[in-house]
């Protein structure tokens, strides 16, 4: 019985495992291999060289790209974590009925049913030179000339990241908070804990797994992005992911692969560090 059961499981997992092997493991392995290859015009030459890596390590440009990316990650992570935590706290603990909790969370998700590309253009009527924000500020007499840095700047890139990624933080945190036993909160209150003490001593520690998972989504989202940063900065700001994309479009596969390997090590390193704090498997499956 046990043997046939195990066989059934293996049969059921086979299609899934095949997709993961052929479309995730093998391709990532090939990136690694190709990163050592030489290249000519639009072709790959299979001979082991170190140049792709030495080019990266001895270039000031790479360092600058990573500094830009880390700056974005730090700012976006801090804002989405605080915003996500307090909004999740509000919806889970302060909104009264389950019906309204569901409606409020749903309300946060609906804007994401619009295509990402359209959501990028949607900032133009708000933040552009003739946009609503500038019209309002000029109309109120706060500024004389329209501000130009609202769109196609560092500001608009960060604004767009926060706009898109807060939900990725909020969702997992709300999920963790929803599992907290209400009697714990009640007990704290009966012992005379203030609301702030309850948040800091009970809710924050129990919401940590959610914060960890949200952080993974936000950090990998910002690090891996080449589209938002390009569109929202008007192609003025470049990031490691953006430069990889440029090399791919220029058909320079081996250096793009070497850059990808570095980036994968950085990203997976951060993820691994976060996973040491929390048991994802337990958190995701319960």
């Amino acid at each position: 019985m046990n043997k046939t059961a195990n066989f059934a499981s293996l049969l059921q997992i086979t299609p899934f495992a095949l997709v993961m092997l052929l479309l995730v493991i093998v391709p990532l392995g090939i990136i690694f291999v190709v990163s050592f290859f030489d290249y000519g015009y639009a072709q790959i030459i299979p001979s082991i060289i170190w140049d792709n890596y030495t080019d990266i390590f001895f270039s000031r440009v790479t360092l600058d790209l990573y500094i830009t990316a880390f700056k974005h990650v730090a700012i976006v992570w801090a804002i989405t974590a605080v915003l996500g935590f307090f909004i999740a706290y509000y919806v889970i603990f302060l909104v009264q009925t389950n019906f309204w909790k569901a409606i409020f969370l749903m309300a946060c998700a609906i804007p994401f049913w619009t295509s990402g590309a359209i959501r990028m253009v949607s900032w133009v009527p708000l933040l552009g030179r003739e946009g609503l924000v500038n019209q309002a500020l000029v109309g109120l007499g706060i500024i004389k000339e329209p501000i130009s840095w609202l769109l196609y700047s560092d500001f608009s890139v960060l604004l767009s990241y926060v706009n898109l990624l807060t939900l990725a933080m909020l969702g997992p945190i709300a999920n963790s908070m929803a599992k907290i036993d209400q009697s714990l909160i009640q007990a704290a209150r009966d012992q005379g804990a203030t609301e702030w003490q309850t948040i800091r001593e009970i809710i924050l520690p129990l919401a940590k797994p959610g914060i960890a998972i949200g952080s993974i989504f936000v950090i990998t989202g910002v690090m891996g992005d080449f589209f938002i940063v390009k569109k929202m900065s008007g192609s003025q700001i470049n990031t490691p992911a953006g430069s990889i994309m440029n090399m791919i479009t220029a058909l320079e596969y081996p250096p793009a692969a070497a850059q990808s390997v570095i980036m994968l090590i950085v990203v997976l390193g951060i993820v691994a560090a976060i996973l040491r704090v929390v048991d994802v498997r337990k958190e995701l499956t319960q």
Partner: protein, 279 residues
């Protein structure tokens, strides 16, 4: 129930939540409103009258709408295939995880890795693999495959949640009553996990619709909707883009609400039956 007095924090956080919702919806409402811009109006306010000009441009294939019609249908075919495949494969995989099997941890962590690795690397890796083996990419295999690397792990996680709540007593009862494995699956397991299966299908469909980081390099000739929209974005100077945004949002809205209603209906019918059985 007597109402607890609302604390100050409730009002402060309500205000913050309101601002957050405005932040999310503000740009979207601009899109919806400006899609009805008059014929002489542009991509910013003020509205120069209301009209359906830009919708007309869209359907008659005017300036600045590229090949959106074909891109939309290509995307729809892709979405359906990805949705069906992800529900079939993820349900099977989820069922496998009810028992320990050889390599279960390896597969699980690969799935997690596939979710957290930024999409371009998966897409780039697949493109490299294809070019090394001299295979030309096309939407119906490499495009579909690239998207499965995201929708399958997601589907598996949904299955974990669904099966975590599954009471094995039902299945044991069916076995005791002499059900064959096939009957057990069709008449016991499937009806219980059906809302989850619909959820996976829906998640596969919606994620496929807006996905391009993984699949863009593996689509072969012809763009999907997000690729076509991105290409049009640079040259967008008329509110026609806003008309596309409004229509596609409406389409997604109908689809998701419809699915939720179906799931809700199944749950309600089940509750009625359970109540009748225990009464």
């Amino acid at each position: 129930m007597s109402r607890r007095r609302r604390s100050t924090s409730f009002y402060v956080l309500s205000f913050i939540f309101l601002l957050f919702v405005l932040f999310l919806y503000g740009p979207m409402f601009c899109v919806y409103l400006l899609s009805f811009q008059g014929p002489t109006g542009g991509m910013s306010f003020p509205m120069r009258g209301f009209s359906l000009t830009w919708y007309q441009t869209l359907f008659e294939g005017g300036r600045g709408v590229g090949d959106l019609g074909n891109a939309f249908w290509r995307s729809m075919r892709l979405c359906v295939i990805v949705a069906v495949l992800s529900s079939l494969i993820a349900v099977a995989a989820g069922l496998a995880y009810r028992r320990r099997f050889f390599g279960s941890n390896a597969v699980f962590y690969t799935a997690i890795m596939s979710m957290v690795v930024p999409g371009i690397f998966v897409g780039f890796g697949i493109a490299l693999a294809l070019s090394l083996f001299g295979i030309k990419s096309d939407w119906w295999y490499s495009g579909v495959g690239a998207q499965l690397t995201w929708s399958l792990p997601f589907g598996l996680l949904i299955m974990f949640i669904v099966l975590g709540r599954f009471n094995p007593a039902y299945e044991e009862a069916a076995t005791d009553l002499g059900a064959t494995p096939r009957q057990r699956f069709l008449y016991v397991i499937l009806p219980i996990i059906l809302p989850g299966v619909i959820g996976i299908t829906m998640a596969g469909f919606t994620s496929s619709y807006d996905e391009s980081a993984r699949s863009a390099l593996n689509m072969g000739t012809g763009n999907t909707m997000p690729m076509e929209l991105t290409a049009l974005l640079g040259a967008a100077t008329t509110p026609a883009m806003f008309a596309v945004g409004t229509l596609t949002t409406l389409f997604m809205f109908t689809l998701v609400i419809g699915t939720l209603l179906i799931i809700g209906r199944i749950a309600r019918r089940r509750q009625v039956r359970l109540n009748a059985a225990t009464a």
